[in-house]
Symmetry: C2
Subunit: 321 residues, 2 copies
Amino acid sequence: MLRYAVVGSGAVGGFYGIRLAAAGADVQFLVRRGAAVVRDRGLTLTSPEGTLHLPSVRVAGSWDQLEPVDVLLVAVKATANPDVLANLAGRTGLVAPGGAVLLVQNGIGVEGSYAATGLPVLGGLAFLCSQRRDPAHIAHLDFGALTIGAHTTGEAPGGITPLMEAIAADLAAARTEAHLDPDLVRARWRKLMWNVPFNPLSVILDATTDLLMADPDTVALVTRVMQEVAAAAAAEGRELPGTLIADLLAATAAMTPYATSMKLDADAGRPLEVDVMLAEPLRRAARTGVPMPTVAALHDQVAFLDRRARAVGAAGQSAAV
Amino acid sequence: MLRYAVVGSGAVGGFYGIRLAAAGADVQFLVRRGAAVVRDRGLTLTSPEGTLHLPSVRVAGSWDQLEPVDVLLVAVKATANPDVLANLAGRTGLVAPGGAVLLVQNGIGVEGSYAATGLPVLGGLAFLCSQRRDPAHIAHLDFGALTIGAHTTGEAPGGITPLMEAIAADLAAARTEAHLDPDLVRARWRKLMWNVPFNPLSVILDATTDLLMADPDTVALVTRVMQEVAAAAAAEGRELPGTLIADLLAATAAMTPYATSMKLDADAGRPLEVDVMLAEPLRRAARTGVPMPTVAALHDQVAFLDRRARAVGAAGQSAAV
């Protein structure tokens, strides 16, 4: 198995890291707040699929304590990227030759800044519902699949690399669903089609997915947002299936009531991923000349709410390292 | 002076009714909840321009107690129109020959249903900040001008009628600013240019006007909404001045922090004026082929919030009669 280090040992990074470590992979966890707790109690992943407890884990309390790995799994909120990039800049030796950064994060257009370090970069899209209850306890609620694609300069489809295959094999050994996508940008647009409507609306309207799907007006609004995202994706040569919108709406209506990641961030007083989830899609659509007026409205609203929450000085702490 | 009856003796109807009565006009107030209180205590209008107290007022506790007038001043929330229309249907004799219904209300397209009773209808646009503190006490906070225009079948500009002149003279005697507009529909679009962005956004984002004007993203959003309203107005032959958007933004930024009428309704658990303020402008724009995607987003959001608030069973009472 490959060697891993998890940067951002929260709901997402903790889930995949614990699964991989429990399957026997060498996994280091970077934990900057609560390192002593994790060293003392290990890590626990509660899950409807069965609880995993790792009594002893490799904990790095700082970047300096990390040792070289094949996969640097970065699973921080996008708002913490500047911090991670600053730390990574002088430590590219952390990723062994043939290895890569695996950036498991929402949004689009985030891999480029990591690739600027000179390291190979893979993008990861987590279809996962989980929460960090405390530094030593991750609660898995639902789903869990990880889609992985390769970043390339110019964003042409990167195909499927041997490293991606190796990661998928490790995840399979960890009984965790993995999908390898030859076109990372298309995969990101596809995921945005759900995230762009539901994340901001759940914050703006203080609503879980079931409430948004139960009202004809919000269903219509979500649908128009999805249509705008589909048009922006198509303008980048990433045509999404014509049935995708109807499929996503039906799947969401059938889902357990669900608070989006942005809603969880807002409720916890954390900064919101406005830039990668809304502003960057808008910038891309502007470049290709695709109008996104509905997305722009949602962007402006959550940007306002995010700025106000921070101005109020909500003392929420970021879940990022 | 003309004879008046005020239907909807709340923040708006109470303000104009008390001003007119204090100036000597014969004014009946229809008060269905709190009639005994008003008979007992009279009506008081507190105001930075000086307090008016009417120790004895003509109170009608029901429609049957109203006597004929020249002007039936209807100042209920748009959500109460069905109730008023049902009561008015069998009582058109309430309005003496040469008189009219004066519908002081937000939105657009509301006069037609009143005109269907066969009575002449004037539309009134209140630029007024006031609150009903209790059935006997209206608090005037700021502004107060009333713009009046004549409704016509087909919505052609109705010009300025003798009745409008007489009402304006009464308001002048009551030291209340009146503007007579020969084109009611244009006046309504002009007022919508402010109401359509600020009313729903104040509810959706739980924000007063000062907060919305202090954030670059909400200013941009408000501006786009105003542009859509201007385009829809122009498509109905009601070109608004090119400087109006900049003027409205500057005036709003300079205003005292202000909760819109829709925000006051939402906070009090009252139904929101979604239909006349958002749905009807959208229907009109659809007929003239003008896209209003940003307005549509705001519509869908407040429609959701309004429906949810009523489903929750918020026991707020309508300020309407």
